[in-house]
Amino acid sequence: MRDVSMGQYYPTKSIIHRLDARIKLLLVIAYIVMLFFIPTVDNYLAKGGNLSDYVIKASCAFIVVMLFFIVSILLSRVPIGKVLKSIKAVLFLVIITAAIMLFFYSGSASHVYFQRGIISISLEGIISAAVMALRLFLLVIGPSLLTLTTTPVELTDGLERLLKPLTLIKVPVHDIAIIMSIALRLIPTLIEEADKITAAQKARLAEFDDGNIFKKVKAMLPVFVPLLVSSFRRADELAYAMDSRCYSGATGRTRMKVMRMRLRDFVAMFVMAAVFFAVLVFVYDFFGVTTLLVNLVGIAL
């Protein structure tokens, strides 16, 4: 029950938890954009780059991103297992994507290890698959750190503040936000209610997991009907309660919890900017850093 109401929220009071929700949202967006700055193999080769340069650039960039991510997890004090759990939902997608890349790589390939019909395994394909898997992995797991460290209520609040400029073009941002908060607020209540009704009907020997889909739906009626009735009752009561406290929408409304940027928020933004810059440095070979690395690796080999 708790799982749904709090989303994935994992309370630890860490510095990541205490960051401003708006900043966290922005940082996640920056993080996602950053991941897309790392080019794919195809792209890089198409622009006339060579494979070994690519491998060094991409791995440097990925190492920076991963380091950043690992440090964030450690700071958030969320158990690593919880973070990895979010990947489970898309693991299948990642595997399929990587497998397609691996077996059906169609770009120009320098080292082909195996070829039969349309199936071919090449060095480029292998690197492609690895990059794609890594990117998807980081893409999914980054936002999950946001939901693990931010309550749904903070998220809607943050979103409302971020989207506020849209009120200029008559988007009812406040109303949307209040609908979202009420919905979030009522999810646990409804689940609790559903649990209670289910228990009451079970006590009258109701069976919920017998037979085919139609039978199951029919079996759920003794739960759905009272639940629907009570949601309407609740909606009425809530509307009266809000009315009697003179709720009238966004106009003239002030906040109890004013979101204020603190030092840690600026530090977080600075760190994110630095990481982003580092990725760009490696990918676009600013100051010849990557060239230097390539040469060093060459000497070492």
């Binding site: 994992y10 009451a200 079970k202 006590a203 009258r204 020997l205 069976e207 009272p226 009735v229």
Partner: protein
């Protein structure tokens, strides 16, 4: 036949940050024919305790034997749930069917009884809760008054002819008259269903109707008492954040002012006060 609870322990969300011990080694026995009260504050574990009695919460620590059915072993939960009728708080919120008759028939139908047996039981249960069977059977439960709805919900459980009836705050949200009606109804029901267990946090109700009372606090059993024993334990009642029944409270206040009387219900209080007056006039 009885309910024997030994070392019952239940932990919600174990091994997570939300871990909460709802019941901690609770042991007591409910005998046949008891009108057994369970009293305690919100969060004391009352509801968790009774949800164990018909297997709605799986037993994870300790043991419970209900009328010979050992819940720590594999058991026939259909049989258990027909023996232990469970009326939750605000039972009228569980009504769902188109007519009162069909709603009350839900339990017996799930028991797999014959059509004639179901019809008999529905009529029996609706009459038992004091409603006019012929007038009400074809009405929608949603157009009844709150008090009637609660009775229909109660009938829905009684139609299963349980041997043990568990009532979770049966008077919640009713006015004083509605409360008394429902409580008096439980006495009538008790003639058909010999063991009644009532959860409440209202001492007056518990004092007037129960013969034995278990006091729960923070998941622990503070003891099982007769009403008279319990009202002698004002230290415990205070510590549990409960209040004495009104009659006992008045008697206590009079005692504090030097009138030597004791009483556990209204009748006793009235005669005790009259006696005390007579004694002081004599």
């Amino acid at each position: 036949m009885s309910i024997v609870i030994k070392e019952l322990t239940h932990v919600y969300s174990p091994r997570t940050p939300f871990e909460k011990t709802a019941l901690d080694k609770v042991s007591f026995t409910i005998e046949d024919g008891d009108y057994f009260g369970i009293i305690g504050h919100t969060g004391s574990g009352k509801s968790t305790l009774i949800s164990h009695l018909n297997g709605l919460i799986k037993l994870t620590g300790g043991s419970i034997v209900v009328n010979g059915i050992d819940l720590s072993k594999k058991y026939d939960y259909k049989k258990l749930r027909s023996e232990v009728g469970m009326v939750f708080q605000y039972p009228e919120y569980q009504l769902f069917d188109e007519t009162v008759e069909r709603d009350v028939a839900f339990g017996p139908k799930n028991m797999g009884l014959s059509a004639s047996e179901i019809a008999d039981r529905v009529e029996y249960a609706i009459k038992l809760v004091g409603l006019d069977y012929d007038k009400i059977k074809n009405r929608s439960p949603f157009e009844l008054s709150g008090g009637q709805m609660r009775r229909v919900a109660l009938a829905g459980v009684l139609a299963m002819r349980p041997k043990i009836l568990v009532l979770d705050e049966p008077t919640a949200g009713l006015d004083p008259r509605g409360k008394k009606e429902i409580l008096d109804l439980t006495l009538k029901i008790k003639e058909h269903c010999p063991t009644v267990i009532m959860i409440s946090h209202n001492m007056d109700e518990i004092a007037a109707y129960c013969n034995r009372i278990a006091v729960l606090g923070g998941g622990k059993l503070e003891g099982v008492f007769t009403p008279r024993e319990l009202f002698g334990r004002s230290d415990l009642i205070e510590r549990m954040g409960l209040s004495l029944p009104t009659a006992a409270l008045i008697a206590k206040k009079l005692r504090d002012r030097g009138v030597q009387i004791s009483a556990s219900d209204e009748d006793e209080l009235v005669s005790a006060i009259l006696n005390a007056r007579r004694a002081s006039h004599a």
